[in-house]
Symmetry: C2
Subunit: 341 residues, 2 copies
C-alpha cells in the first residue's frame, strides 16, 4: 500500500501516520486542508517526494472545501504551499495540481482535474524511484554494507523510496546488502522509519546513533553512504541535519558519498546561501518522549536541514542516470533534462 493515496470513498488523503511508527502501523485520513497542513507540520507525512504528492492532494482538498469561492480557494492553497518552508517539492506539487485545476475551466471541475493530476504525479513518483533504483543499483556490489541517514525510503515517497530505493534496486538485482542506519536526531527517522521499512523488506539492518558514524566509517566496513535530498542547488545538497557532518566523515575515511534524488529536487537557479533553513521547535531537544532531556533555560539550535557542498559528493542518482563530478558539467546536463520535461 502506498505511503499516501486518495480515498475516493471518503474524499480525503489516506496516509501512514509516521509519528506512530515503529510502535503502531496506523493510517489516518486528512479530509480538510487543516488536517493535511497539521499532518505536514507534525511530520505525519514527510520526505520531499511524499510532500510533493501531499501538496497536489492539498489542492484537491482546497477545491472541495472552497466550494467555488475563488478567494477562499487561493487562501487554502497558500496554506498548503507554506506548511513547511524548505521543501521545494511541497510547493511544486501544489503548483502542478493548481495549474491543472485552472486549466479545468470552472470551479466545478477544479477538484476533479487537480485529483487526476495528483494521481499522475504519484504514479510518476513510483516510476521515477524504480528508475533511480535501477541506475543506482550499479554502484553497489553483492555483500556491500551501506550507511544511510534519515529516511529517504518508501515512507518518504509515494512508494519504493529514493536512497532506500537504490538499496531495493540492488536487492532486486540479486545483491545482498547490509545497512547501517543512523538514528537521525532529533526526530529519529532513521531509527523509527528506515529500520522499520528495511526490516519489512528483509534487509540486514544495524542501528547506530549519529555520533557513532565516525568509528563505523573508520572500521572500513562501509562501502558507501547513500542518502536522499530535500533540495539540490547549483552548489550543494540540502538534506536532513547531520548529512553535512556525515559527508565530511565519509570524505575523511575515503568512503564514497552518494545522493539519490529525482530531478524535481533540483533548483539550479539557487545557490546554497539563497535557501532558508527551517529551524524547528526547541521542544524537540528539550524532551525525549515524556521525559525531560534538558533544562528549560537552555538555548537550543535546531535546524532541520544542512547544506553539503557538492565537492563532498561522489555521485547523485536521478531517474535519468547517475551524475558525477565535474559538477558544473553535470548540472548543465540536469538543466537540459529539466527543460525536456
Amino acid at each position: 500500500m502506498r505511503t499516501l493515496q486518495w480515498d475516493s470513498r471518503r474524499n480525503g488523503v489516506d496516509l501512514v501516520d509516521q509519528t506512530l511508527l515503529p510502535s503502531e502501523s496506523k493510517r489516518t485520513l486528512c479530509s480538510t486542508v487543516d488536517s493535511l497542513v497539521e499532518a505536514i507540520q507534525m511530520l505525519r507525512v514527510r520526505g520531499a517526494p511524499a510532500l510533493e504528492a501531499a501538496g497536489a492532494y492539498g489542492v484537491v482538498l482546497a477545491a472541495l472545501e472552497a466550494q467555488g469561492d475563488g478567494g477562499r480557494f487561493d487562501a487554502l492553497v497558500e496554506r498548503v504551499r507554506t506548511a513547511r518552508p524548505t521543501a521545494v517539492n511541497l510547493a511544486r506539487g501544489v503548483e502542478r495540481a493548481l495549474e491543472a485545476a485552472r486549466r479545468a475551466g470552472g470551479p466545478g471541475k477544479a477538484a476533479e482535474a487537480a485529483l487526476a493530476e495528483a494521481e499522475r504525479l504519484c504514479d510518476e513518483d513510483v516510476a521515477r524511484n524504480r528508475a533511480m533504483g535501477s541506475h543506482g543499483a550499479r554502484l553497489l556490489k553483492d555483500g556491500d554494507t551501506v550507511m544511510t541517514h534519515c529516511n529517504a525510503g518508501r515512507l518518504a515517497t509515494v512508494d519504493y523510496g529514493t536512497a532506500l530505493g537504490v538499496l531495493r534496486g540492488a536487492k532486486e538485482a540479486g545483491k545482498h546488502l547490509k545497512v547501517v542506519a543512523c538514528e537521525t536526531r532529533p526526530l529519529n527517522q532513521g531509527a523509527r522509519l528506515t529500520t522499520y521499512e528495511l526490516l519489512e523488506d528483509g534487509f540486514d539492518v544495524t542501528l547506530i546513533t549519529d555520533s557513532m558514524a565516525g568509528v563505523v566509517l573508520r572500521s572500513g566496513r562501509v562501502a558507501r553512504v547513500v542518502v536522499g535530498a530535500d533540495r539540490i542547488t547549483r552548489d550543494a545538497v540540502f538534506n536532513k541535519i547531520g548529512t553535512y557532518g556525515l559527508a565530511c566523515l565519509a570524505k575523511v575515511h575515503k568512503v564514497p558519498f552518494t545522493v539519490a534524488a529525482p530531478l524535481t529536487t533540483f533548483d539550479l537557479e539557487l545557490r546554497a546561501r539563497d535557501v532558508p533553513v527551517e529551524e524547528r521547535n526547541r521542544s524537540e531537544l528539550l524532551w525525549l518522549g515524556s521525559k525531560k532531556n534538558a533544562p528549560d533555560e537552555v538555548r537550543v539550535f535546531n535546524p532541520a536541514f544542512d547544506a553539503t557542498p557538492l565537492k563532498l559528493v561522489n555521485s547523485i542518482v536521478t531517474e535519468k542516470g547517475v551524475l558525477q563530478a565535474p559538477w558544473g558539467k553535470a548540472m548543465a546536463r540536469v538543466g537540459k533534462w529539466l527543460k525536456q520535461r
Copy 2:
C-alpha cells in the same frame, strides 16, 4: 556540595543520582556494595574521576560488609573493581583504598584506613581539577565559544570538573564564554548534565544534537572543542562515543581540539588496540524513555567509547600543565610525572 561524599552518620556513599537530572536534583545513599555497583552500572554516578572516588569508597563498603571475612572482602572488592570494564580510574580508586586497608594491619581497621584514603583521593581530585582549570584557562579568550561533548564536569568528578573545569577556570579568570553542548546520544549526558551544571554556574549554553556539530563547526563561531577523557593510551584518547567523529570534524574545520584529563587517566603501557571498549545494552537505542525508538528485530551497535588518535588532538590539559605535539615527547614527560607521584 560534592557529587559524591561519605556520609559518616549513615555509613554510606551519598551521591547525586544523575539518571534523574535535569528533572530532579536528588541524592541517594549507597550503603552496600550491591547498591554502589548498581549505581555505577546504571550511571547514577559516572565520569572517570568520580568513578575513582566511587571505587575507593567501594572498598570502604566492602570492608564494612565483610566484617573481617577476608575471602568475602576480596570478592566484594572484585565486584566493585569490575563494575565497568573500560574505566581505568574505577580500578585505580579500588587499588588505592585497598592498599591503605592492607597497610592498616588487621580487618578491624581496614574500613577506617580505606575511608581516610578515599577522602584524601577526593580532596586531591578537587585540587587537581582546579589546577587543570587554571592551566587550561590560558587556552581560552574572553568571548570565545567552546564546544563540548558528554559531561566532563563537576558531575563527572568529585567537584569542579575536567573539561568543564577548564571553562570554570577561564570564567574565574574573568573571561566570558559561550558553550555549545552536544547532546551525546544515547544517554544524553550533554543535554541532561552539562547544560544543567553550566546553567547553574551562569554560563550561556546552547544545546545541539551530535549531528549538528558539523554545521556549527563550519560556521566559524567555535574557537575550540574541549572534552574530557576516560583513558589516554600512548597513541589515543578514549572518551565518550562521538568524540572521534567530533575530533575529525574539528580537524576538517581547523578548530583546535583540547582534552582535559588528570594524570590518573593516562596508561602509557597501552596502545589503543589493547583497550577493550564496553558495548552497552541495545535497549539504550531501542527506547526513548517509555517510547519505542526502533523495532525489536533491528541489530544495534552501541559502543560506550571511541578512541581518538593523538594526531587529531591539539592539546591535553593536565594538573601539571598543558601537553602538545610532538606526542612522543609529551608522553615521555607524562611518564616522568607519573613516576614522581
